[in-house]
Structure formats: C-alpha cells, structure tokens
Amino acid sequence: MIEVKDIHKSFGDAHILKGITTSFEKGKTNLIIGQSGSGKTVFLKCLLGLFEYEEGSISYEGKNFSNLTRDEKTNLRAEMGMVFQGSALFDSMTIAENVMFPLRMFTKQSKSEMEDRVNEVLQRVNLENAHNKMPSEASGGMQKRVAIARAIVNRPKYLFCDEPNSGLDPRTAIVIDNLIQEITDEFNITTVINTHDMNSVMEIGEKIVFLKDGLLEWEGSSETIFRTENEAVTNFVYSSELFRKVRKMYLEEND
C-alpha cells in the first residue's frame, strides 16, 4: 500500500504537481492516466524518490519514505521494479545481462539459477531468442519488454511502469498488460502504471487516477470510468469514436 498526501512539485517557476492525494493498494493494478505533459512521469518519479518534492508525503506500508534511513531506503528499493518511459537499459550489457543485473546485485543465487530465472522472464515477455543482443540492436518494443523483464525478474513487491506498452503492437501490448496483471495477482504486489493506452485502462484498470494540470481530477476503476459524468475524463478517454462506441455497448449490456 502506497499512500500519497498532498504532493507538490515544481521545476523553477513551473508548478507541475499541485497537491495530489491518493493511494495505491496492494494486489491491484493502479493506472495513472492523463494528457501528455500532465505530470504522470514526474509523479511516478516522486513516488520512487527520484525527485524531491516541496510539500506532502509519500508512505510505503505506513512509513514515510523521506524519513527512512539510507539503509531502509536501499532495502525498500531492492523490492521495487521500475520500467522507465525510455526503457533505460544499460547499454554496455547484453539483454540477458540487463535482466540478470538485479539478481546479481541483490541475490546470492548461483549462475545457473540466475540463468534459469532470466530465461523464464524473457520467455514471459516473448523474447526467448534475444539473449545476446545489445540493447542498441533491439527494436524499441523489444527494449520495452527487456525493461519489463528486468523490472520483474527479482519478484518486486512494488512495480512501477511508465507507459509499458507504448511503442508495442496491439498484440504484444495485450501480452504485456496481461503479464503485469498476472504477476500483480500472483505475488500480491502493488503496481502503478502510467499509460495512454485506453485498452489497458479498460482491461486492467482496477484503480484509475486521472491527472489534469497537476491535479487529481478524478479517480475510479475500469467500471466506473464507463459511467462517469466528469467532462475532463470523458473528453480524454472517449475522444475517439471507437471508445465512445465501446462505452455505449458497455452501458447497454450492463444496464
């Protein structure tokens, strides 16, 4: 469980997050949606402690992150997995080495145990034949999937993904969404995902947080999002004809 209270974040004069309060429960896939530039990435980086914020607090299982000692922070972070918007793979390592890295850092497993685990996760992201490629030789979508594999390899308790399926074809995007949902359920982890993908919103959004102009405009779930009257949300989510049709069908079916 991650609780966020009244987070404010500015860069110079630009006030990006203007007081966000929400919480992300364990075992749920929490989605953060909002227009490009609305502050999703900044918010996620505040959660991870990569950005310092001027006001507010973020606590993990009731413990305020900023009050943790250095060692406590290190231990907590060893339990986090993060997929960056730009993948952030280590470009001096092969794909397999990238995925193995958290295991080498934080476990005492033998080489063959680590290799087995790496094979297993690479298989789950449909990358069984790319072990020895360098990240620069992989396509954007492959890099994304490697980043996801690296984030989940050490069985994190908290999984953060910044647009995990942008740049993926629709089929792979669904595979990734399902994978995230599965491991969230399976290991009861707290998952927070930034996304633009309306398909993910409807498929896996157990909790949805809508950010607008640095404020939390609306929160709900993949069900309530069909019924919301909030204009900002409907303008954003149902901006395409296709999703307006989807909503219509959903409401007809469920009423």
Binding site: K45, N75, L76, A78, M82, F90, S92
Partner: protein, 249 residues
C-alpha cells in the same frame, strides 16, 4: 547564470561526490568486471597515443635543445640531461595528463553523461544502488595504474630523444646517455610521481562529476564533455603549479 554561489555549490557537490565514491560499496562480484573494463578502456586504451606522443615529443625536445646550444663551451652531454629533466619533471606527468584530460576525461564525461540522460543512472538509483560508487569507483581504481602510463611516457620520451639525437646527427649516443645519467636526483622522480597520482585523481573525479551531475539531453552531453576537459586541464595546471612550488620551490 553562473554566480559565485553556483561555483561554491558545484565545489560542494564535488566533495560530497568524492565521499560517496566510497559509501555503500557495490558487491565485489559485480565491481570486479567493471574495474577490469575501465582498466582496459582508460589505461590500456591510452597507451598507444601516449607512446606515440611521448616518443616524438621526446625527439623534438632533444633536437630543440641541441639546436639552441650553439656555444662550443657547452658540454655535449647537456642534450641528454636537458631532455631527461624536461621529460621527467614536466612533459610526462603534466603534458600527458592534459592530453589524457581530453582523451580519458571526455570519454568518462560522455559515457556517464549518456547514462544520465537515458535514465540509466536513475535505474541504478531506483534499484537502491549507489550510482556514484558503481560508476566512479572503478574509474578511480583503474586510474591508480596511471603512474604506469606515465613511466612508459618517460621512458619513450627519453628514447625518442636519443634516437632523434643520434640519427639526426646532433650528437653521439654516448654523450646522450651520459647526460641522461648525470646528476640523477631521486627526489625528482618522487616529485613526478606525486604529481602523477594527484593528476590521476583529478582525471578520475572531475570528468565523472561533469557526467554524473549533468542535466538535459544529448546536446548537453557534448557540452559537458567540453566543460569537463576545460576544468580538468585548468585544475591540472593549477595543482601542478601548487605542487611544484611546495615540493621543489
């Protein structure tokens, strides 16, 4: 805008970084290959250019010295003596270090800076890894081998002088070697290697600082490398002046 406060802040951050190099060390099994890789990139990879420059500059120093010693009363061994002194005292430790500030320094800044702009450093931090230790410590250890590079520069510089002198017809091998051995002062060596160690430290840390704390995108990586080269050279020259006045003055 650069105010005096910004400079002070930068210096403060630099010293905090130095402390952080040794804090929360990375597992040895992960660190060892990083050190070996940096030895390869920074030390082995520099030997070629250092050898080339030392050999030819040594030759030029010998030729210049003999061309400028036209008076017949000056002993012939002076060419070897003067070449040895300038190479051991200044050329090898200081001049080569400035070249290394360009070669090794901009490599360090751009490789760490690229990791910063592509969020690889954030990825390390998120995993709970001390990015400064992970990235800078191996470079620091690799550069403790820097005196080895400078010894090669000294040897090849003096050899280059010998060859230029003999084959250019400026003097005999015997005279040159006599000059090289003349009035040998061990403290000059100590002085040269103290400088070398300090320069190695500057070469490892200043470029790392400019890479690690850079902001912006790919364009800024290029700018950071240039700034890093300028400041590393300036610091080498200043520290050289200080150490020389302290140790020899």
């Amino acid at each position: 805008m650069k105010t005096p406060i910004t400079y002070l802040e930068n210096i403060g951050t630099y010293f905090i970084m130095i402390k952080d190099i040794f804090r929360r060390p990375t597992k040895w099994s992960v660190m060892k290959p990083l050190i070996l890789k940096d030895i390869d990139d920074l030390i082995i990879g520099s030997l070629g250019i250092v050898a080339f420059i030392s050999f030819f500059v040594g030759g030029v120093v010998a030729i210049q010295t003999s061309l400028n010693m036209t008076s017949p009363i000056m002993p012939k061994y002076l060419v070897g003596f003067a070449t040895r002194q300038s190479i051991i005292l200044e050329f090898a430790p200081t001049f080569i270090s400035i070249i290394m500030a360009g070669k090794v320094g901009s490599f360090i800044t751009s490789s760490i800076g690229t990791m910063r702009v592509t969020e690889q450093i954030d990825a390390l931090e998120v995993m709970g890894i001390n990015g400064i230790n992970y990235l800078v410590f191996p470079k620091f250890i690799a550069l403790t081998l820097y005196p080895f590079v400078i010894s090669i520069a000294m040897f090849l510089g003096i050899l280059g002088g010998l060859i230029a002198c003999v084959y250019g017809g400026y003097g005999t091998m015997e005279d040159y070697i006599e000059g090289v051995q003349l009035d040998f002062e061990p403290f000059h060596f100590i002085y040269a290697f103290i400088k070398t160690f300090v320069f190695a430290f500057l070469l490892a840390t200043i470029p790392s600082y400019y890479g690690y704390f850079m902001k912006g995108g790919a364009l800024e990586v290029g700018k950071a490398s240039t700034t890093s080269f300028v400041w590393t050279s300036v610091m080498i020259i200043l520290v050289n002046f200080l150490l020389t006045s302290l140790l020899l003055g």
